[in-house]
């Protein structure tokens, strides 16, 4: 059985202007040891999915349809107490603003040991510290920095500490939400390579959320492209980027500058994504789509297979 199954997931935020459907009809599965990159522009719902997988939706957000099954447990049906047991031990998250995710007034080692002992009360102090030291070695942090405070760490070191914390309880799934956005390219490259190596070593499933498609292309096995709350294309990284079928994916790929290959002219995507409050009858991309036809606006496009394991939400692909 797949490690993670997401079926027809819909998530809404209650806003002053009515229900905003941030995620609509998203389905995918993730096997253990595989990595999935969720990419899309801001507001496309990728972080919302990550938060739902952790059971951390904000108070005005809720799952309105579909279900999330992680390792046989239906996360979408758990209450807060049960969620707390799953969180961190089965699914851990590397947050977007890792710089701010550490407690500034506690030493790094104490924070990590605390995370372990909260979930595993049977672990005594010395065993917890042993585990913390092991984690430090794992992510390449020097042991003499164990008792430092977060402000004594550089950005890359903090990010490593966050990754170590995510690994502390041997989770089966890690959700990395823009884990390297605030970092310099050289540090970013090191962190990405290390994350990938750790994932392979421990056979963890990773969901990599990013707006930077060049990063996920290098790191992930599979890619899901999101637009306006829907998954519009999904397949292996190679299929999605070098044989893109959905007009949005094609536009996204050709709007990205790259170092490899010949220098091609970038094509910006005209227009803006639609407002997600209220119902949208047809395809959500049709206002910006070069292939737009009259029927696109009227009917929901279908999720169809265009190659082995390569799906697209478009009627004209």
């Amino acid at each position: 059985m797949a490690l993670l199954q997401v079926e027809n997931l819909g998530i809404g935020y209650q806003t002053a202007k009515g229900l905003l459907k941030a995620v609509d009809g998203v389905s995918f599965t993730l096997e253990a040891g595989r990595s999935l990159g969720l990419v899309g522009e801001s507001g496309c719902g990728k972080t919302t999915i990550g938060m739902a997988l952790m059971g951390l939706l904000p108070p005005n957000g809720r799952i309105i349809e579909g279900r999330i099954v992680l390792d046989g447990i239906e996360i979408s049906a758990l209450d807060e107490d049960e969620l707390r047991k799953v969180r961190w031990s089965k699914v851990a998250m590397i947050f977007q603003a890792a710089m701010n995710a550490l407690n500034p007034v506690k030493r790094i080692s104490a924070q990590m040991a605390e995370a372990i002992q909260v979930h595993r009360p049977e672990v005594d102090d010395s065993a917890a510290m042993e585990r913390v030291e092991g984690l430090f070695n794992l992510v390449g942090l020097p042991l003499e920095r164990l008792y430092d405070f977060p402000h004594q760490y550089s950005g890359g070191m903090k990010q490593r500490a966050i990754i170590a914390m995510a690994l502390a309880l041997n989770p089966k799934l890690i959700i990395a939400d823009e884990p390297t956005t605030a970092l310099d390219v050289i540090v970013q490259d090191q962190i990405l390579k290390e994350t990938k190596a750790l994932q392979e070593k421990f056979n963890i499933g990773i969901i990599f959320i990013s707006h930077d498609i060049s990063i996920v292309a290098d790191v992930c096995h599979d890619i899901g492209v999101m637009y306006a709350g829907q998954l519009v294309e999904m397949g292996s990284a190679k299929d999605v980027f070098f044989n893109s079928q959905h007009p949005y994916t094609q536009a996204l790929v050709s709007s990205f500058p790259t170092l490899a290959g010949p220098k091609t002219k970038l094509a910006p995507i005209p227009g803006e994504p639609p407002n997600l409050t209220g119902a949208i009858p047809g395809c959500r991309f049709c206002d910006r789509c070069p292939k737009d036809t009259a029927s696109c606006k009227l009917e929901h496009p279908k999720w169809q297979e265009v190659g082995p394991g390569h799906h697209v939400l478009c009627d004209h692909c």
């Binding site: 390219v185 050289i186 490259d189 290098d218 490899a260 290959g261 010949p262 091609t264 910006p268």
Partner: protein, 350 residues
């Protein structure tokens, strides 16, 4: 791309340094001197887009701020069109700012939230008493259109919060070009934006150069963006300019170990086979040495202790109009860039 227009030097920085003093405190005593920029020599040619590439803290923003004279250099000289502007004051400084404008990194903070787009963009015209106030609106509309906001009438009476990040950044560009400056400093204008908006901003900046003939200094941390947009690239490391040259040369045949490390670290979009791997970055940093040596010594895999730790490297000519600050840099016959060879046969996709 624009060889003919690139000949005349418009801005020149000669040995420019900038120091900051950290605030001392009770425990540590007096402040520490931080070198933000160290003896920068740089010239921008008329009508070119020059990319200044570096990591955070490398001094690239400081360099931009010195050029628009938000700060004064502690050493060295900056000239614009032959006139020394290093320590301009008062009226002359105001005149200078008419010619040199800046686009800031964060469009969420660079626009006044209480002022409409029309008033925001017209503000420089009022400050500099340009044109008849009755014509301002027309001018604002025209410049908004140049900045890719069309129809401009839809935007003039909106407030910044009613715009997306990409639209705000276009307003910020409109505001910077409304005075038709001869030099525009764009400080990471796309780092806060999504990719689809970045491409729009690049297109607009190219338009500003082509239509207004402005010279642009594009400050970025992304080699890929610099490759796309710029005619020439300068690479800056901890306040030292370490390599400079035509964009394609610096990317395809980098000569400074730091430039090579930057290229190694840039995501290759799943096509790493098209770009060579240099491996010039040391896995573990060396302990600090004297400040006399090469600025990159601590992280350089190619460094030789005696030479590199002890003496500051010279500028070496390493290619046509390409220079690198390294003891070992030398002109070499570059291996045919694999990027082009492999890619030509492979994809014809746009």
């Amino acid at each position: 791309m624009t060889e003919s227009r690139e000949n005349k030097t418009i801005l020149q920085m000669e040995g420019v340094s900038r120091f900051y003093r950290t605030r001392g405190n009770v425990f540590r005593g007096g402040g520490r001197l931080v070198v933000a920029l160290s003896k920068i020599n740089l010239s921008l040619r008329q009508g070119e887009i020059f990319g200044l590439v570096g990591e955070s803290g490398s001094g690239k923003t400081t360099c931009g701020r010195l050029i628009v004279r938000l700060e004064e250099p502690d050493e060295g000289r900056i000239t614009l069109g032959g006139e020394d502007i290093t320590h301009l004051k008062g009226k002359r400084l105001r005149e200078y700012r008419r010619q040199v404008q800046m686009v800031f990194q964060d469009p969420y903070q660079s626009l006044n939230p209480q002022v409409t787009i029309a008033d925001s963009v017209a503000e420089p015209l009022i400050t500099h008493k340009v044109g008849d106030p009755l014509d301002h609106l027309e001018r604002v509309l025209r410049v908004l259109k140049t900045a890719g906001l069309s129809p401009p009438e839809d935007y003039v009476y909106r407030f910044p919060h009613q715009l997306s990040g990409g639209q705000r950044q276009r307003v910020a560009i409109a505001r910077a070009i409304v005075l038709e400056p001869s030099l525009l400093v764009a400080d990471e204008p796309t780092s806060m934006l999504d990719a689809s908006y970045s491409a729009q901003i690049f297109e607009i900046l190219q338009g500003v150069r082509d239509k207004l003939g402005a010279t642009i200094m594009f400050i970025t941390h992304s080699m890929a963006s610099a490759r796309y947009l710029c005619d020439r690239i300068g690479v800056i490391y901890r306040g030292h300019l370490v390599e400079q040259g035509p964009a394609e040369q610096v990317i395809n045949a980098p000569k400074h170990p730091y430039t090579k490390a930057l290229i190694d670290a840039t995501p290759k979009f799943g096509r790493s086979e098209l770009v060579p791997t240099y491996g010039t970055l040391l896995a573990a940093e060396r302990p600090a040495t004297s400040s006399a040596g090469c600025p990159f010594f601590r992280r350089c895999a190619l460094a030789e202790r005696l030479l590199c730790a002890g003496s500051y490297p010279p500028w070496r000519q390493v290619g046509p109009r390409q220079v690198a600050l390294c003891h070992f840099a030398q002109e070499e016959v570059p291996p045919p860039p694999p990027a082009e060879n492999a890619a030509r046969g492979e994809t014809g996709a746009p």
